[in-house]
């Protein structure tokens, strides 16, 4: 009896510890990595939330195009998109307007303020009620032809562009501003804090080609002097600095060698 009571007590304690520690964050599947749920006004309008797949868009367009020229925020639900905005040709409606094309294929129109049963099929392309197996299949078909990596989508996007597997559009007629040539800043190293951990090589060139300057400065990186901001992996995993993109859309920070790339001397 006493043993049974003791066993029950141990089990209860273990359950308490596990519950207190919280559930381990589930690693997203490759096709779901970078997916963002947008739900500012959808449910109020009687629609399911929008599930936005970053991979579908990043294979065709630079980050800068959407996050600077079109004006999408960098965090989920910060943009506050209304169906009316899309209908007027802003946000998703810049391309999803029923007349724009990509590779000679017409891009489906986004929101309508009124819709019938037939049109509802178009609504649920984005306002997803449940997972679409066709989307998953499309991802794996696309992934097959791409250079691979271990984490995130399992696609090395940087290499994919280098190899010419993807050609990203960086400008939209009537939306993007005509810019001059950018003078790219030099790459620099950041000292690793852990003994034996290779230093970080930060490449401005790699980042500006997709992001321009204003995506990162000053909203994400506010320090104006190298070394003035003290970064920690805790901050990064908390979604600050590099963590704004890396872990969410860009390759995860668990891929240490992608950043800690400078050979250790000696």
């Amino acid at each position: 009896m006493r043993r049974l009571f003791l066993a029950c007590l141990i089990l209860l304690c273990c359950a308490g510890v596990l519950w207190g520690a919280g559930m381990k964050k589930k690693k997203p599947l490759p096709q779901d990595f970078g997916s963002v749920t947008i739900n500012n006004y959808s449910q109020q309008a009687g629609m399911p939330p929008v599930v936005f797949d970053h991979w579908v868009h990043r294979k065709n367009y630079t980050c800068r195009l959407c996050h600077v020229d079109i004006g999408f925020g960098m965090t989920a639900n910060s943009t506050q998109i209304h169906a009316a905005d899309n209908g007027k040709g802003f946000f998703c409606g810049v391309c999803h307007n029923g007349s724009s094309t990509f590779n000679k294929t017409k891009i489906f129109a986004s929101c309508a303020t009124t819709y019938n049963r037939e049109e509802y099929k178009r609504c649920v392309k984005c306002h997803a009620l449940e997972k679409d197996p066709a989307r998953e299949e499309a991802f794996y078909r696309f992934q097959e032809g791409m250079p691979r990596e271990t984490f995130g989508n399992g696609i090395n996007w940087e290499k994919a562009e280098e190899m010419g597997r993807i050609k990203l559009v960086d400008s939209l007629e009537g939306v993007s501003l005509k810019k001059g040539t950018m003078k790219v800043q030099k790459d620099f190293t950041l000292k690793g804090k852990v003994e034996g951990m290779p230093d970080i090589i930060f490449s401005h060139a790699k980042h500006t080609v997709w992001n321009g300057c204003e995506v990162c400065h000053p909203d994400i990186f506010v320090g104006i002097r190298k070394g003035a901001t003290k970064y920690s992996m805790i901050d990064l995993f908390d979604g600050k600095y590099c963590g704004v993109c890396h872990d969410k859309v860009a390759f995860p920070q668990s891929d240490c060698k992608r950043c800690h790339a400078k050979p250790v001397a000696g």
Binding site: I70, G71, D85, G180, K183, H217, I224
Partner: protein, 98 residues
């Protein structure tokens, strides 16, 4: 003849008055393009050039704030991105000069 001339003048004035808001609408967009298209050169600009651009951004903000909801939302966001970058570069240049 005089009556016709008056009618024509009135029609011209009316046409100009109707065209003015549209032209004004176009002018702030052109100003926005001229101001925010220089972000890629921000690091090579002088302190004075950055100050001038910031002043233009302030003026543009006032114009954009009275536009309709969707336009206001998009363009204030876009303006903030370029204004903040210019302010950031100005701070950098000024700290460099000290």
């Amino acid at each position: 003849m005089t009556a016709n001339w008056k009618k024509a003048t009135a029609a011209l004035i009316l046409a100009l008055a109707l065209a003015q808001p549209a032209a004004a609408g176009e002018s702030w967009r052109a100003e926005f393009e001229a101001t925010c298209s220089k972000t890629d050169q921000a690091m090579t600009m002088s302190v004075q050039e950055l100050r001038d651009l910031l002043a233009k951004c302030e003026a543009l903000q006032k114009v954009i704030e009275v536009q309709e909801d969707s336009v206001r939302k998009v363009y204030l966001k876009r303006l903030a991105l370029c204004r903040n970058l210019y302010a950031y570069m100005l701070e950098y240049k000024q700290s460099d000069a000290k």
